[in-house]
């Protein structure tokens, strides 16, 4: 069962990689906008087919009516109070009606968010800049025999740091040229690799390769998990965060994604005849 799900997840990875490759020439914000619109459309479809649209429409109207009630009869505190209580009650009822859609949509949304985070949360490492590779091991004893093997375009710029209490080794590395590389952590003849992306172009970035828990696999897609029961628990790369410019502000991907999704949903709910 788990194998089947893992296979499915690999296929999903491939699908997303393919679609990201198609959009490679586009600026990251445009790619994010495309996914926002897709999320909105998908959510609207799910909401339309899994919720009681008539009841939601009625509740939405009632909620609006209570808002207007507060405005129209503001001189009558009793009416305002009752309108407000009715509003709270109807809002809760509305949430109850929206819950089924939310539950149905939560799993695909989670897969989607994993993929989006892999692509939008971090930017690639800049060529010529130092970065850290850290590996965490099952036991502190095994730290002594660990060897890091690097491809020719990656060079170690400082001796490794062993943190015994954390069962962790950190290496300072520099990427000399743009490209996708694999770093290898070798221990007792076993090779554990981790992909490293250096460059300026838009690419799938996976900051951590973890040992294969099912949920971790869903949340951290893009790279196969480390073998279960192996000596290495995780290998991480310290990527810089990708920031989007909104005016003078720099924000992470989640805020523009949420805003764009909501805007698209509001714009498209009419054409898609969905009540939200």
């Amino acid at each position: 069962m788990l194998n089947r799900v893992t296979t499915l997840l690999i296929w999903i990875d491939k699908l997303f990689d393919f679609s990201f490759r198609l959009m490679k020439p586009l600026p990251a914000l445009v790619v994010l906008a495309v996914f926002s619109v897709l999320t909105a459309v998908l959510s609207l479809i799910v909401v339309r087919w899994t919720s009681n649209q008539k009841a939601i429409r009625r509740l939405r109207h009632l909620i609006d009516a209570h808002v207007l009630e507060v405005r129209l009869f503001s001189d009558q505190p009793r009416v305002v109070l009752r309108a407000y209580l009715n509003l709270l009650g109807d809002t809760l009822l509305y949430l109850r009606y929206a819950l089924v859609s939310l539950l149905v949509f939560s799993l695909p949304l989670l897969l989607l968010f994993g993929q989006l985070e892999a692509h939008f949360e971090h930017a690639p490492l800049e060529p010529g800049c130092d970065f850290l590779v850290s590996a965490k091991f099952q036991t502190a004893d095994s730290l002594a025999g660990v060897v890091l093997r690097l491809p020719p375009d990656l060079v170690q710029t400082a001796p490794s740091v062993h943190v015994l209490s954390e069962r962790e080794i950190d290496w300072r590395i520099k990427g000399q040229r743009a490209g996708t590389y694999d770093v290898h952590v070798v221990l007792q003849g076993h090779d554990f690799s981790k992909r490293v992306v250096v460059g300026t172009e838009f690419a799938s970035i996976v900051p951590r390769r973890l040992r294969g828990s099912f949920w971790q696999r869903i949340i951290n897609p893009g790279e196969a998990p480390l073998p279960p029961g192996g000596l290495v628990e995780q290998i991480g790369i310290q990527y810089p965060q990708r920031l989007f410019g909104v005016g003078t502000w720099k924000v992470g991907w989640l805020a523009p994604y949420a805003a764009l999704t909501l805007a698209a949903a509001l714009l498209l709910k009419g054409p898609l005849r969905t009540e939200i």
Partner: protein, 721 residues
């Protein structure tokens, strides 16, 4: 048995599986450390709209609560005298258009109206004098202003445009925008249409609201366009439909080969395309096009189910299933203009028949209460609020489609169903307004009593011989049932009242049979007051009339107008003494006019407007007002300005009850839970009485006189005084 157990077991397993999935997802969402970051926007998406509403309402509520003491303080300063001298904290006025005192009395005697009987016993029941003429817009205008028509300027539903001799609405005027950009065949409006109220004088709720008394006014006639005051108001009779008319329905059929248009209706043929039938609903005038006849349309198609009992209507992306002989819910329509904007309206469909011909009735397209193309409430948000609270509702002034029944496009059952659907909406509005008016005045007028009596008076239940031989099944009890339902409504209202609330039940006029029509224009023609051009047949709206030789003409239900020089477009009667002589002459000749066929008095009295009215707008009144005798009324042709060969004719239409006769024959009703001293009270007295009940001074211009009115318990004291 085994199979049943297995099935039960399967369904249990399914339930457990679903439950497990549910628990797993919820647990995951709650406990997965990374997930919480993702759930944010997902949940946000789901709750966005409700959250925003909640936030908005919270802010408003907080603001309302925080500022309430300050507002109350200023309110106290401004309105410290409100309620101080009031005899009651709340007055409820229920208007039943056309409720007849004699019919009420009969049903009371038969014990069929228990709630009204309670009022009669503990309070008051008497006839209420109506206005001259006893027509709803006239009488309700006097109700709300407390003045005679000479001061409120409403004399009929329509009045003539004195220049063109064409009818115009007497209560409101809707004119084109002031600024329009003309480009070839197109006209682009640069401002809003101009709407003005033609009714003059001030409604009593303006005085009350100014004094700090809360007012909720629902569907009182002649309140369109709504005027600003500090209360809530939903306009009633005289609100137009989306076409700007007083109600134009459309009828779609496979029988009609071409489009036919008449006043109040449009018949549009269906065009068959493969398995569906296509047609369109006529909409408002296309104001972008210079051609005044250009109209926007809402196309739709109908697909009949194989069972031949149902059909599916597709309109504007919506699919509406409708059964034969049933009404649809309100359907929202969009009429798209050339600029990309749209005018929204609502209508109901009624599937009349499928075989041998597909026949579909569509109600007049009402102004959408959530997106009103014209203002129908004050504040504007009030109509929106009512629609959001109770669902879409009829906004048209004359929403019950009497024309459709009169002209045979709707059956009696369908008409009645329509009336009660509309009435239900009105009841919901009224009870909401009543709930919101813990203190103050709540007024609501129900129209159903008028419409149903107009259309069903012919039936023998009213002690009259049926005029038409066809009497629908079960139709005998229609009026009795109507009165019983109104009594129940009154009962439910009384249940919601507190001890010292004042309740007034009023009607603007009563009812009598409309058996024979009198064509006043034909009479004027025969008497030599109106001349037709040679070899030109007479038609609607004075077609064929030679105005250079015509001294008088009749338009509407009771009025005769003189063709006065300087006032009318081609007037020949000199104003002053000549006009006065002519008025007197006409009154003398019309008074006591006998119908030669029946030897009955067709016209009881005729009134000289200059003597009957007083006030600044007396000049706008018809010069002579005709008070028809019982059983008579202006004929259908006469009302539309047509001259026919005979003066008298039989009214064979379903519209068989009327009240546009001598006012002494059709008084309204007055019920109250309080004792009212004296008799022969008039509808004009209600406004001053309400002002007096709330301790306000009655303005001097009001013609009505406040009644001596006290709660039942203290009535004896008042009698002694």
């Amino acid at each position: 048995m085994l199979a049943e157990r297995k099935n039960r077991g399967d369904s249990c397993e399914n339930r457990y599986l679903l439950l497990s999935i549910f628990v797993a997802i919820v647990s995951f969402l709650i406990f997965a450390p990374v997930a919480h970051a993702y759930v944010g926007p997902g949940a946000g998406f789901a709750v966005l709209t409700s959250f925003l509403s909640w936030l908005l309402a919270s802010l408003q509520a907080i603001f309302a609560f925080l500022t309430w003491p300050i507002r109350q303080f200023f309110r106290f300063l401004r309105h410290r005298r409100a309620y101080r001298k009031a005899k009651t904290k709340r007055a409820i006025i229920l208007g039943f258009d056309g409720m007849d005192p004699l019919v009420t009395e009969r049903f009371l005697k038969q014990g069929k109206l228990p709630n009204l009987a309670r009022l009669r016993e503990s309070g008051t029941f008497q006839a209420l004098a109506t206005t001259l003429p006893p027509i709803s817009p006239v009488a309700w205008s006097s109700f709300l202003t407390g003045v005679n028509p000479g001061k409120h300027n409403v004399y009929d539903f329509v009045m003539p445009n004195r220049r063109l001799y064409l009818p115009e609405l007497s209560s409101a005027r809707i004119r084109e925008p002031k600024r329009v950009l003309k480009i070839g065949r197109y006209k682009i409006p640069l401002s809003r249409p101009r709407i003005s109220v033609l009714r003059r004088s001030t409604p009593f709720w303006h005085y009350l609201a100014k004094a700090g008394v809360s007012c909720s006014i629902i569907r009182v006639p002649v309140t369109f366009p709504p005027e600003k005051f500090s209360g809530v108001l939903l306009s009633g009779m005289c609100v137009p439909d989306i076409q700007g008319t007083q109600g134009t329905f459309s009828f779609h059929t496979t029988r009609a080969p071409i489009r036919e248009t008449a006043s109040n209706r449009v018949v549009v043929p269906f065009v068959k395309h493969r398995t569906s039938f296509h047609s369109y609903i006529p909409g408002p005038p296309d104001t972008l096009r210079a051609d005044p006849a250009a109209q926007l349309r809402a196309p739709f198609s109908v697909k009949v189910a194989a069972s031949k009992q149902q059909a599916a209507i597709r309109i504007d992306g919506q699919r509406i299933s409708i059964s034969k002989g049933k009404y649809s819910e309100w359907v929202e329509l969009k009429f798209r203009t050339g600029t990309g904007s749209s005018i929204k309206g609502i209508c109901r469909f009624y599937l009349k028949s499928i075989e041998p011909d597909l026949e579909l009735y569509v109600t007049p397209v009402n102004i959408h209460p959530m997106h009103p193309a014209l203002p129908i409430s004050h504040p504007l948000a009030y109509s929106v609020y009512l629609a959001k609270l109770n669902g879409l509702y009829a906004t048209l002034g004359l929403a019950e489609d009497t024309w459709a029944l009169n002209d045979g496009f709707l059956g009696e059952d369908a008409f009645l169903e329509q009336c009660y659907l509309i009435h239900q909406e009105r009841e919901q509005m009224f009870f909401d307004a009543l709930e919101k008016t813990a203190q103050g005045v709540c007024v609501c007028v129900f129209d159903i009593t008028d419409r149903v009596q107009h259309m069903f008076w012919r039936h023998p239940s009213n002690g009259h011989d049926p005029v038409t031989p066809q009497v629908g099944n079960g139709a005998l009890d229609v009026i009795e049932d109507l009165y019983k339902r109104m009594d129940q409504l009154i009962g439910r209202t009384m249940d919601k009242m507190s001890g010292d609330d004042l309740l007034l039940i009023v009607s603007d006029h009563g009812f009598k049979a409309f058996e024979r029509g009198v064509n006043l224009n034909s009479w004027l023609h025969q008497q030599g007051y109106l001349t037709l051009r040679e070899n030109v047949p007479s038609g609607d709206w004075f077609e064929g009339v030679d105005w250079t030789k015509t001294r008088a003409y009749s338009l509407g239900l009771n009025g005769i107008y003189l063709n006065i020089r300087g006032r009318e477009g081609m007037g020949i009667v000199e104003p002053g003494s000549e006009a006065a002589r002519l008025r007197t002459q006409l009154c003398e000749k019309l008074q006591g006019l006998i119908d030669p066929e029946t030897s009955r008095v067709a016209i009881l009295r005729a009134f000289d407007a200059m003597k009957a009215y007083r006030g600044p707008y007396r000049e706008n009144a018809p010069d002579v007002i005709v008070g028809f005798g019982e059983g008579y009324r202006a004929s259908w042709d006469s009302a539309e300005g047509e001259v026919t060969s005979t003066v008298f004719n039989v009214n064979s239409k379903a519209w068989s009850g009327d009240h546009c006769i001598d006012p002494s024959l059709v008084p309204g009703v007055l019920f109250s839970n309080w004792k009212i001293v004296g008799e022969r009270h008039a509808i004009t007295d209600i406004a001053p009485t309400l002002l007096s009940v709330f301790g306000l001074k009655v303005p001097l211009h009001m013609d009505g006189k406040p009644w001596g009115i006290t709660p039942s318990a203290s009535a004896a004291v008042l009698q002694e005084q």
